[in-house]
Structure formats: C-alpha cells, structure tokens
C-alpha cells in the first residue's frame, strides 16, 4: 500500500467510532525484530555494568593482574593492557561509567528541553519567540567544540562532562516538546479541562504533559546513545574524568599501544558500539509503540 493510501485509511479509521483491538505494548515492540534484539543486548549489558565489580574476575585497576600486553586468553578473555590490567574487568567498569554519563546527560538534557519547550509551547507569543531564538542559536554554534571548551575550562570531572553534554543536547528536545505542546494546547480535551476550571498547573502537568511524553521518551532513549558517543569523543581528546575510567578513556589510553595490542581498543569500542546500537534499536521500537502514526509507514 502506498503511503498516501495508508494515510487515507488511517484517517478513515480515526473518524469512525470503532474501538481499536487491544494490542499489548510489548507485542508491538516485539513485532519489530531488531528492537527486540536491542532490548536483549541491553538486558545483558546493563546488569554487566551495574554488577561489574562483582562479576569481573579481577580488580579493574589492579596492575599486573596478568602478564602485560597479553592477547585474549583464559582467564583474561579480552587480554591485558601495558600494565597487565585485565581488559575485560576494565571494560565492565568502563561500561558502568559510560552508561552513567549517557543516562545522566540524557535525563538532564531531557529535563531542560521539556521545561524550555513546554514553557515556549504553552505560553506562546513573545516567550515562545525568545526561547526559540535561544534554541536556534544553540543549534547553530558547533556544540561539540563548546563542550570541549566547557570541560577544558572547568575541569574534566564526571559532573562537568554530564553537564556539558546536556548543554549540547537539549535543543532537539525543546523543539519536539514545543511542537507537541502547541498542538495539544488547542485540542478539545484541553479546552474542556480549561472550561471546567482547571488551573494552569493541572492543564500543564495532568492534561498536556502526559500526552507529550511519547516523543520525549523515544528521543531520550536515542539521547543516551548520543551522549555515550559524545563522552567517548571528549575522552578521546583527553577530556575524560581521570578518576573514573570510561570506555572512551580506555580508547584514548589504547591509542598509544594499539599497534601491538589491538584488543585494548577493539573490545572497549565494540562495547560502546553494541550499547549505542541497542539503544538506537530500542528507541525505534519504542517509537512504534508510542507514536502509532509512524507505525503505518
């Protein structure tokens, strides 16, 4: 069926007072095979990251846990680095830090974007103009380099890194939330609540926001992956937190020794790749569940 045909069919259904057959959310999600794959990978990686210290066979910072620069062999399945530290244990530990930065920055920027976009979309007029102008400015300046500057000037602590990445990523969220608010604000159910005497707070938090959450959640999932990649990029340029070794910091350290020990870069990078890929796949799957319109395509 062509897209236009599908749209017409969707419109026709929307106008008819029929009750859609109830399909459990997880089934819509699982129908998308790649999304299910992503969810399974995450179901392995997240416990590995959280329980890393208990699961890892060695202390990640223990020097001479094995022979230095040894390739993958039992019990060092990912090999060892130049100081004889166990790469697998370090990867598990680094994954924890990378996911922490990913989720931290994504929640931070989503919160910021929801506030800015919500205020702009709900109040409209000059507040909207002002906030959207600021958002546009943030979209034009090269944000990765702004992040580099922020971290270089204020110090490479994990909080500064999370903050810098959040500053880089909120404009997209703000735009999505604003357009949702603009369209929801004018819907009948919101008018009904307004006529019934609902306060502004009720309108925003009980009527509009819950209905705007679909795209926000999808976007948030994708942001976690993007934040992990940004953190890796910053770390690679030497701006990682030296006290909390993330996967990005591992890749930077490996730059010096990878010519003789490929495993020191291959495995940490593979781990970022798997995590980000799964997050992107899960994001697509959530999009199918939460934004039914896009499912038809």
């Amino acid at each position: 069926m062509s897209t236009a045909g599908a749209m017409q069919a969707a419109e026709a259904t929307a106008q008819m007072p029929v009750i859609a057959p109830h399909v459990p959310a997880w089934r819509i999600f699982a129908r998308n095979g790649t999304a299910a794959f992503g969810a399974i990978v995450l179901a392995v990686l997240i416990p590995l990251a959280v329980l890393g210290p208990f699961l890892a066979p060695f202390d990640p910072s223990r020097v001479n846990a094995g022979p230095p620069m040894a390739g993958p062999h039992w019990p060092h399945v990912f090999g060892t680095d130049d100081l004889g530290r166990d790469v697998f244990s370090r990867v598990a530990d680094g994954l924890r830090v990378s996911l922490l930065v990913g989720f931290g920055a994504a929640s931070f920027s989503t919160g910021l974007g929801v506030v800015v976009g919500g205020v702009a979309g709900f109040f409209g007029r000059f507040i909207d103009d002002l906030l959207m102008r600021i958002t546009e400015i943030f979209q034009v300046i090269p944000r990765f380099f702004l992040g580099v500057l922020l971290v270089a000037f204020f110090g490479a602590s994990i909080f500064n890194i999370i903050f810098a990445i959040a500053i880089l990523s909120w404009p997209e969220v703000a735009r999505v939330v604003r357009s949702e608010f603009l369209s929801l604000r004018a819907r009948q159910f919101v008018d009904a609540a307004r006529v019934a005497g609902a306060s502004r707070r009720t309108l925003i938090f009980s009527e509009i926001l819950p209905n705007a959450m679909g795209p926000v959640v999808v976007n948030g999932t994708l942001l976690v992956g993007q934040a992990m990649l940004l953190e890796a990029g910053l770390s690679y340029l030497g701006l990682g937190d030296p006290s909390l070794v993330s996967l990005g910091v591992m890749l930077q350290e490996a730059q010096q020794i990878m010519r003789t020990a490929w495993w020191t870069t291959a495995f940490p990078g593979l781990m970022i790749f798997l995590a980000v890929l799964s997050l992107n796949l899960v994001g697509d799957g959530l999009n199918d569940v939460l934004n039914p319109r896009s499912r038809e395509r």
Binding site: F144, G269, F273, V276
Partner: protein, 321 residues
C-alpha cells in the same frame, strides 16, 4: 536574490556576537585569574603578565573589558599562544587547508554515495537490500568515529600494509607534481573512509525516507504513465525533489561534521585543525582553544548561510516566504 543573501548575512551577525560573548564569559567564569586564561600558561615573566593585563584592560570595568575583547576579535587578533610562540590566527590558518582538503573530499564522497544508495534503496522498500543497508547505516551511526579509525588503521595500515599509518605525506615521496598528489591521496584513503561512514549513514537514511515520500506522489505516477524510463523517473524527477531537504540537513550538520573531522584527524595524525585542538587540550592552551572555537563557529555560520543560499537558488519559493 542579492537582497536575500544580504538578509541572511545580517541574520548571522548576532550569532558571531554570541560566539564572542561565550568566549568572554569563559575567560571570566573559569576558575583562576582571567589573565592566566588569556596567557594559556603560568610560567612566564611578571612583566608579560602585566602587559597582557593592560592590553586586555583587565583592571577596567567589565563592559570596557568586553569592548576591548570584541575590538580585538573583530580586528582578527585571536591572541597569542605562548606554547607555540605564534599568534593563534596564524596557527589556525596554517592548518586550515589540510582540514578542508580532508573534510571536503569526505563530504563529497559520502554525500554522493549516500544519496545514490538512498535513492536505490527507496526504489524497493522492505526488500532484503533495503533492510541490509538500513542496518549497516544504523551501525555506522552507532559507533565512535575515531574507534572505527583505530580499527581501520590496525587492519589496513598495520596488518595488511595497504596504506600509510599516519600523516599527510611521506618524507621520501616526490615533493611536487603528480607523485606528490598520489602520495597525499594514499594518505587520505583511510581517514576519508573513516570519516565518511557516519555522514554517509546520515545522508543515506534521510535520502531513503524523502525518496520514498516523493516516489508516492502524483507527479511520479504521471511521469511513469506517460512512459518516462524508470531510471529517469527515479534519478531526475524524484531525486531532484527529494534531495532538497537532504542538502539542508548536510548544511545544518556541518558543526557535527567538523567534530567528526577533528576526531578522525587525531587518529591518523593528520596535520589539520583537529591535531591542533588535540595538542591545545593537552597543554590547556586556552587562547588556541578559544581561537579554534571562534574560527570553527564562523565556518559553521558561513556554511549555514551558503546552504540557505543554495537552497534558495534551487527552490526560489523560500525567498518570498
């Protein structure tokens, strides 16, 4: 048209102002004495510290300081790097050609290949080829670009020895003529591929969606009905319309592309601005960092204006909007 270009340029002016404001804010908000931020190094003579303090008017009220700073930037004085013993602007301009060469090549290759692949995939949506290329594109989108560079370097430069491991030219290669061109080209292969993967994935995904939308429109059906050959329908009728939003996105993503270029340069020790950024971070050379931020921001702003102008040339409707 001229009026439109002038208007777009006028809109870009406040942005330049914001960039300078950000730099100024960082100098003063960063922990420590602003004078050492401007110097970028602590080990220098007290006389020099005093000179810089007076030069930037750091004993004056804040707004005078900003006016002084603004004046300096607008007269293209981006400060002096003690570490490199050279003005910042010269440092950056020295490395600009290498970055532009790498970026321009990668941008052209990946845009052309991405648009072609996207157009081909959209012809048969949900086929095996379509699914396969979508997954490959998603993979390209999900990996750290510099990690891909590291892996390519290990496999193709170290183990297979097909390409040089780093730099822009070898010492023993001819220093002029065709030999030099070939030598640089050989050094460019791996960085260009590395850098192209991410951008190719982006362009491919977008072109595919836009082509699918366009191919479902009525004028395509008309073209097919009157017997236009299929290749012409796809690559002339549809692609010309579908590619417009792609051009916009390429322009809007210029900033992220610069970031990708910087990371790639660092992996392959390409003597461009990325390498300079890496060294400046290592030495916490603040004048160079701020100078790079200013120049890169200007490049992004200019790229945005150019994109809009190209768009307006292809689709004159936007001028009258």
């Amino acid at each position: 048209m001229l009026f439109y270009v002038a208007r777009r340029l006028a809109q870009a002016v406040p942005l330049v102002f914001v960039i300078i404001l950000i730099n100024f804010f960082l100098i003063h908000a960063a922990p420590g004495d602003p004078v050492f931020v401007l110097l970028g190094s602590m080990d220098t003579t007290p006389e020099f510290v005093e000179r810089v303090r007076r030069e930037f008017g750091l004993d004056q009220p804040l707004w005078v300081q900003f006016a002084t700073y603004l004046g300096k930037i607008l007269s293209l004085d981006l400060g002096y790097s003690l570490r490199f013993q050279e003005p910042v602007l010269g440092l950056i301009l020295d490395r600009l050609p290498a970055t532009l060469l790498l970026m321009g090549t990668a941008l052209t290759v990946s845009s052309v290949v991405g648009i072609l692949l996207g157009a081909i995939a959209a012809r048969r949506p949900y086929s095996v080829t379509d699914h396969a290329s979508t997954i490959v594109a998603l993979a390209g989108y999900s990996m750290p670009v510099f990690w891909l560079g590291q892996i390519m370097l290990i496999v193709f430069a170290l183990h297979l020895a097909w390409f040089p491991t780093q730099g822009m030219y070898s010492l023993r290669a001819p220093s002029e003529g065709w030999g030099r061109v070939m030598d640089i080209a050989r050094h460019m292969v791996l960085p260009v591929i590395t850098y192209s993967v991410y951008h190719l994935a982006l362009v491919y995904r977008l072109t595919r969606v836009k082509m699918q939308e366009t191919l479902a429109l009525d004028f395509i059906t008309t073209a097919r009905a009157k017997g236009v050959p299929e290749g012409r329908v796809v690559f002339v009728h549809a692609l010309r319309n579908a590619v417009l939003p792609v051009v916009t996105v390429i322009g809007l993503n210029f900033g992220f592309m610069l970031a990708g270029s910087v990371l790639t340069e660092t992996v392959f020790a390409w003597p461009g601005m990325g390498r300079l950024l890496f060294d400046a971070i290592g030495a916490r050379d603040y004048p160079v960092l701020m100078g790079l931020f200013t120049v890169l921001s200007l490049m992004v702003i200019i790229a945005n204006v150019i994109t809009d102008v190209i768009y307006a040339m292809v689709d004159p409707r936007v001028i009258y909007r």
